[in-house]
């Protein structure tokens, strides 16, 4: 069962190593499938590259499994226990942002075999971390989307009549297919205005949400329609 908080999914079947933003799914005795939590969409921005250790490599607890690079983060993700890398998901290595979408078939990074008997001691269940995750999501204003935005633009304080002009201007410099997350003050009619603008310009509104009086719109740049 997957529970969503601000559209960030957490499976009750998984185990978590929150310090390193990892989920682990047991697939057979002491072998786990490993992925990255979707809340990193907000915390790190879109992951642009991942350099992961190779199958057969043994990694001690607290040493790096992989190096992650994103729009706002460069750092190692560390192993929760002594392990050996068994298999890589090459689709995720080549398109690492899919790791941040959630728990779909493609959204895992690697499979690892635990090399120690007490490998579970540092992992926690969803019920054990739920409160901490809720606090983190609330304090850091975390929000997840099905598609990971390439860019975030804060347009808070801009008059609603100017907002669509600003949006058009920002999109003009982006490559076709880019996804921008725009955050603005909410006003009634904003969603309808955005839909109308989308029909006129061809840009695609992927998501629209209102959180704490702020409107969050996810827009894909389209130049041909």
């Amino acid at each position: 069962m997957v529970e969503e908080i601000q559209a960030c999914g957490f499976s009750s079947n998984h185990l978590y190593f929150l310090e390193e933003m990892l989920w682990l799914s047991p697939i057979r005795d002491r072998v786990f499938r490993v992925g990255i939590l979707p809340i990193t969409q907000t915390l790190w921005g879109k992951v642009t590259s991942v350099s992961v250790k190779q199958p057969g490599d043994e990694v001690a607890a607290n040493r790096a499994i992989c190096l992650i690079e994103s729009r706002r983060f460069l750092g190692n993700v560390r192993a929760p226990f002594d392990l050996r890398i068994e298999r890589l998901n090459m689709e995720a290595v080549e398109r690492p942002w899919i790791l941040q979408r959630g728990f779909g078939e493609a959204a895992w990074l690697c499979e690892v075999a635990a090399l120690e008997d007490n490998c579970l001691t540092r992992l926690k269940s969803w019920s054990e971390i739920r409160g901490e995750v809720e606090r983190m999501i609330s304090e850091k204003g975390i929000i997840c989307f099905r598609e990971v935005p390439d860019y975030v633009h804060a347009a808070i304080g801009i008059d609603c009549s100017q907002l669509l002009m600003v949006l058009s201007d920002k999109l003009e410099g982006l490559p076709e297919g880019s996804i921008i997350h725009i955050v603005a003050d909410y006003n009634e009619g904003a969603e309808k205005d955005l839909e109308k603008w989308s029909r006129i310009t061809g840009n695609e509104v992927l998501d629209f949400r209102v959180e704490k009086r702020l409107a969050h719109a996810l827009i894909r740049r389209r130049t041909q329609f």
């Binding site: 350099s51 040493r63 790096a64 190096l67 690079e69 706002r72 983060f73 460069l74 750092g75 190692n76 390439d150 860019y151 633009h153 920002k170 003009e172 410099g173 982006l174 490559p175 880019s178 921008i180």
Partner: protein, 296 residues
């Protein structure tokens, strides 16, 4: 000056010579071994210190915030001579200190700081090859405490204006066969397909394209996957193959002068070209000024 040169697994490595003269490129290993030396000051130069320096940095490294410390606080310009003196003084840097620069974004802003420090005549200057990314990838120590170096009285004794070029002088050189203009941006920026680099998508210019006559050699072509510089001979072939030869006056540019500082460093400091100038006004100036000629 003789450098020891070791080509190890196709990655160039420069080490201190026996005479203890200074290479312009030092390895992460060298920094790890020498960071406590009193004559060495490690400096992290970041575009975004919140996601870099403040998350952990090389022990003893001081922070130079590119926006606040390397640029003039009011006008669009690099830091003044007096500003550079003040920056070095409060960073515990004397005129004979060996400054080792590294930073985020593949050392873009460290290279910019290197260029500014050279312009203000600092001699003992190096870049840590691979920058912050390589240091982290190698799981080397990161600390969060910032050092409090004893202030010095740094004095700029010579300004190398010839390392910089401004818009009117670029314009005056258009069409000159003795000048090589190197646009180090991505091909899509060069051709005007996109108006801003992917890293700063919303900071676009009014017009896309490139300065007439410029060749496109993206900065990243000088680097290996791990962010270290390619071997010297490979670099030489790369630039000379595109007509950027040492007999010419070379002008590098990008969007704001930081990526072009990387290429300036390669041409001036690694390949020892005699006349290399960084046009830090770059496309954010050229692409916005009324009446500047543009090629697509």
């Amino acid at each position: 000056m003789q450098f020891k040169y070791i080509d190890n697994r196709d990655l160039i490595r420069w080490y201190m010579s026996e005479e203890q003269e200074l290479p312009v490129l030092v390895s992460t290993e060298w920094v790890a071994k020498n960071l406590n030396r009193p004559d060495v000051r490690v400096v992290e130069v970041d575009y975004d210190p919140q996601t870099a320096y403040f998350q952990g940095h090389v022990r003893g490294a001081v922070l130079w915030d590119w926006k606040k410390d390397i640029n003039d606080p009011i006008e669009r310009n690099i830091i003044s001579k007096e500003g550079f003196e003040s920056l070095c003084s409060r960073s515990g840097i004397s005129n004979d200190t060996h400054i080792v620069l590294y930073g985020d974004f593949n050392n873009w802003f460290a290279a910019f700081a290197f260029w500014v420090a050279r312009l203000y005549g600092h001699q003992k200057l190096s870049i840590m090859d691979g920058g912050r990314k390589k240091w982290i990838a190698e799981e080397r120590e990161l600390v969060k405490e910032a050092p409090s170096p004893a202030p010095t009285s740094y004095k700029v004794t010579k300004v190398r204006y010839e390392y910089r070029i401004l818009l009117p002088d670029v314009r005056a050189r258009l069409g000159s066969p003795t000048v090589a203009l190197v646009d180090v941006r991505s091909p899509d920026e060069y051709t005007g397909k996109i108006l801003a680099p992917p890293e700063y998508p919303t900071e676009h210019a009014q017009r896309g394209g490139h300065i007439p006559g410029a060749v496109n050699i993206p900065w990243a072509r000088a680097l290996n996957e791990d962010g270290t510089f390619k071997p010297i001979e490979e670099l030489r072939r790369l630039y000379q193959g595109m007509g950027v030869t040492p007999d010419k006056e070379v002008i590098t540019y990008c969007r704001i002068g930081e990526r072009s500082s990387v290429t300036w460093f390669v041409l001036k400091e690694l390949l020892k070209y005699p006349k290399v100038r960084n046009y830090d006004g770059s496309w954010s100036e050229w692409g916005n000024v009324v009446g500047t000629p543009i090629e697509k």
